[in-house]
Amino acid sequence: MREAQIIRRASTGDAEAVRQLYERYAPRVYAVVRRIAGCDDLAQDYAQEAWIRAIRALPTFRGDARFSTWLHRIAVNSALQALRKSKTRRTRQAPMPDAVPVGPRLGDSLLQSRLEQALDRLPDGQREVLILHDVEGYTHEEIGDTLGVTSGTSKSQLSKARAKMRGMLDGLNENIEEREAWNGI
């Protein structure tokens, strides 16, 4: 069935059509929401909220943009709003124990794991800009609109985030090398 048909049926409350949309886009939605949330506990709630909002708004989807883009924007905005409301961020340590990466887009899974860990440890503001720009491909103007900041602020935050992440990755690399030396690897 074509996507337009599935969307039309889903917008009328057809559970099977909604499930098809979910199966198609859940990994994409969960990935961006998980990275913005910075931890698994919040990520699942944020993802659910994003889907609820999207399904509620489905009757207003006119097809001007691609559905994936429309859904992605809802997921990002929903997660950012939820993060603003969340005052009790927990210390983030574990790198996505329950989540499963989909598809080998990165050859080096160790590098991928380090990147995810470092992302989780960035301050919220820097992490949001870094995710939106370097992971999701937003422009600084789009980030400004989404986060309610100027594009200059977005650029400044991005440089800080990249530098901080580089420092953390170097630290992580050193830790791993130390551990390997201790283990005689």
Binding site: G13, Y30, I52, M96, A99, P101, L111, Q112, R166, L169
Partner: protein, 230 residues
């Protein structure tokens, strides 16, 4: 040599042009060039992070929430779908199922060793190695009236099986039993597949089979949800 460029300044140079001073420094400083290269690699790697499958059970929670908020209509169960099917199509489907069932039953009977034939012919469901298998009853009739009687009997049995399946699906009056549900679904799937051998393009049978297979997947997921994580 002048002081090294800060990491923040190098981070800006990942996708912005360097000033003349920065350019001159980079031309002379291997360390800063190396750090800039590392930042570029980091940025490229971030752009290739993979999508992430949600945790197990996410859809079930979401589906329940959407249903509670009235965002989706619950999917009709098999009996509701059957009830919305025109009567003549239901009769036709039953006849085709019966014909297919007899064919499969006869095939199973021929394949089975002689000493097991009575057991197969009894139509009982058996379990081997945790997998439920169903043998369809075979029958031989010699007159049109006897065949018509047999069709009516088989149709009634088929409907009884559907009712039993629906009760198990809905959990009416009994605790949910996924294994029993699986056995019922397997029985219905075998029947439908047998019927489709006779009428492979039949939309009603294909619809029922797709529903059954989806229900079977759901039940299988329910069973595996209670036992282990992937």
């Amino acid at each position: 040599m002048e002081r090294h460029l800060t990491l923040e300044a190098l981070a800006r140079l990942v996708d912005e042009a360097a000033t003349r001073d920065e350019h001159a420094h980079l031309a002379d400083c291997e360390e800063c060039r190396g750090r800039l290269d590392a930042l570029r690699e980091q940025t490229a790697a971030l752009g290739q992070l993979p999508d992430v499958r949600p945790p197990r059970g996410d859809w079930a929670v979401l589906e329940a929430r959407m249903a509670s908020e009235g965002l989706v209509r619950p999917e009709p169960n098999l009996l509701q779908r059957l009830a919305s099917t025109p009567g003549w199509m239901r009769v036709a489907a039953s006849v085709v199922l019966f014909a297919g069932g007899v064919g499969v039953g006869a095939g199973l009977d021929r394949m089975a060793p002689a000493d097991t034939r009575p057991a197969l012919a009894s139509g009982a469901a058996r379990s081997q190695g945790g997998v439920s298998t169903v043998a369809l009853e075979t029958a031989t009739v010699s007159t049109a009236d006897a065949a018509a009687d047999l069709v009516r009997i088989k149709e009634r049995e088929y409907r009884d099986a559907l009712v039993q399946f629906a009760q198990l699906s809905e959990g009416e009056g009994t605790a949910p039993n996924p294994e029993a549900r699986m056995a019922s679904l397997d029985y219905a799937i075998v029947s439908l597949q047998a019927g489709l051998q006779e009428a492979p393009a039949d939309p009603v049978l294909n619809g029922f089979l797709a529903s059954m297979l989806a229900e079977r997947d759901n039940t299988l997921r329910q069973i595996s949800n209670t036992t282990e994580y992937f």
